[in-house]
């Protein structure tokens, strides 16, 4: 019995020790705080059947807040979503999109569901738009004092895409998903006679791909770095959204954050490096054929080597001069 009591006591002590460490601190704020799930919606449209989906909108604030849901169109410019009035783009989804509610009043720390129905309009390969969720705290507005100030509001934006699909959920044959590489740039490198050189240090590459299909997609890009044919690092870049005909750039670097080790540079000091960027467009869980591009760069501590050469040259010149004299 005493052994059991000891075991129970030890368990309770261990639980008390680890409980604070396992506690995840949630956002607790009296100001506007909004969560929306899912963060993006891709609807598979089969023939003319209406498609339904739903959102959960949560008020994470300790104050009550209203949430207004606004439909808008978008385009991609400056590598980010630019919002426009609903119905203003040829690929607008707005005419077919209906929401069960557009104004919500949410008590503190509560949630509500919003139903979304898409009735296919003339379905092309691309129908897209965004839903903008705008939270406002219920209460008196702040009065500003004399002088100058700025007031921030925040909003959650959810892209909504409708894509023609077969009854099996696969992309319809009307949808072409393809991309081509349009160039890769090695930042910090200098080029002499078509060969790129880089001082020992991290390689930073920017690879650009163009969407040559007829649907919006996300470029999922991988970078593989190798030294004389031996791969030493592979990284995945955050996806870049591209409309048909648009280009999207992905950044890759050999400087990576390793668990428990902070940020480290994995580039060898001497390297004849190949940077290989491969990418494919992703839509409705399917990928386009992969496309890729390469760049080569010669890496060495050029400044130190230059200094060493200068010293050796000086010594050689000095020895030669002494011999002559």
């Amino acid at each position: 019995v005493s052994l059991r009591l000891f075991g129970m006591g030890a368990s309770i002590a261990l639980a008390l020790v680890f409980a604070p460490a396992l506690h995840v601190s949630a956002i607790e704020t009296p100001y506007a705080a909004l969560e929306v799930a899912p963060a993006r919606v891709e609807l598979a449209v089969v023939n003319t059947q209406a498609v339904r989906s739903s959102f959960v909108v949560a008020n994470l604030s300790t104050s009550a807040e209203t949430v207004q849901i606004v439909q808008a169109d978008f385009t991609i410019a400056s590598a980010t979503y630019q919002f426009m009035q609903a119905g203003s783009t040829p690929w607008s989804i707005a005419a077919g999109l209906q929401l069960s509610k557009t104004d919500l009043l949410l008590p503190p720390l509560s949630q509500a569901a919003v139903q979304l129905t898409y009735t296919p309009i003339t379905q092309t390969a691309l129908r897209a738009g965004v839903l903008i969720f705008i939270p406002t705290i219920v209460g008196p507005a702040r009065a500003s004092s004399g002088g100058a100030g700025a007031v921030i509001k925040q909003q959650v934006v959810v892209p909504v895409l409708a894509v023609p699909a077969g009854s099996d959920g696969q992309l319809d044959t009307r949808v072409t998903l393809s991309g081509i590489p349009t160039g890769m740039e090695l930042l910090d490198a200098f080029t002499i006679g078509g060969i790129s050189f880089l001082e020992s240090g991290p390689i930073r590459g920017r690879a650009t791909f163009r969407n040559t299909g007829n649907a919006i997609g996300r470029f999922d890009t991988f970078f593989v770095y190798s030294n004389l044919g031996r791969d030493f690092l592979s990284t995945e870049a955050p996806p870049g959204v591209a409309l048909p005909g648009q280009s999207s750039s992905a950044m890759g670097s050999t400087k990576v954050t390793l668990p428990g080790q902070g940020t480290v540079d994995t580039t060898p000091m001497f390297c004849i490096c190949r940077v290989h960027a491969s990418s494919s467009l992703v839509l409705l869980g399917q990928r386009s054929p992969e496309t890729s591009q390469d760049r080569y760069v010669v890496i060495a501590p050029w400044r130190a080597l230059g200094l060493l050469m200068a010293v050796l040259g000086g010594v050689w010149w000095g020895v030669g001069r002494r011999r002559r004299s």
Partner: protein, 197 residues
């Protein structure tokens, strides 16, 4: 002889039977007073954005007081708290709803001729912190415009319940900025959008 055997058999059988019946009855009673079930749920990708308690702009209001003209002011920091469970990442962008802002405020009678450009606000985003994964690469200081400007040249892929974005704002009012009417101030509104990638 047979009687003795029967008695002994009863001595063994009856307690055994009693035990079996007790177990069966106990099981039946347990079955009758308990229910079993499952809790089913699925998790979708989600993003959230909140105004945190840190920084110097509580509730999103950054008060610069009466800044000197033609000089870049000291920074005010807006603290944004983000929650993302999506390792694909998210993007943040900022825009002003209008290019010019007329003076406003409680007890203010605005003069339509007293306006200021949204571009007097300069924004300095920072890489996000406080979660697991890459915090992204922040863009350098830029004036606020009516076109959405991304915070990052490389978007973050960080996940976590309390990811922190510190957005620093600085004012650069032009030398010719018109003085305000009594009780009025130039209040420039802007919106930060979060989009799941």
């Amino acid at each position: 002889m047979k009687t003795i055997f029967t008695r002994r058999l009863r001595l063994v059988l009856i307690p055994a039977l009693a035990v079996v019946m007790a177990v069966v009855a106990g099981s039946a009673a347990y079955a009758a007073t308990s229910t079993s079930g499952t809790a089913k749920f699925s998790v979708a990708t989600s993003v959230s954005i909140a105004q945190g308690g840190g920084g110097t702009c509580p509730g999103g209001a950054c008060d610069f007081g009466q800044p000197a003209l033609s000089v870049l002011s000291a920074g005010q920091t807006e603290d944004l708290v983000i929650n993302s469970n999506d390792p694909t990442g998210f993007s943040l962008s900022i825009l002003s709803a209008q290019a010019n802002w007329t003076e406003s405020g409680g007890g203010c009678t605005p003069n339509a001729g007293k306006t200021v450009s949204a571009g007097v606000v300069n924004i300095n985003p920072a890489a996000v912190t406080g979660g697991t994964g890459s915090g992204g690469t922040a863009n350098s200081q830029t004036p606020l415009t009516t076109t959405a400007q991304p915070f990052f040249s490389v978007n973050p892929t960080m996940t976590g319940a309390a990811i922190d974005e510190l957005l620093t704002l600085k004012l650069f009012p032009a030398a010719g900025t018109i003085p305000n009417s009594p009780s009025c101030a130039y209040v420039i509104g802007y919106t930060v959008s979060i989009v799941g990638l």
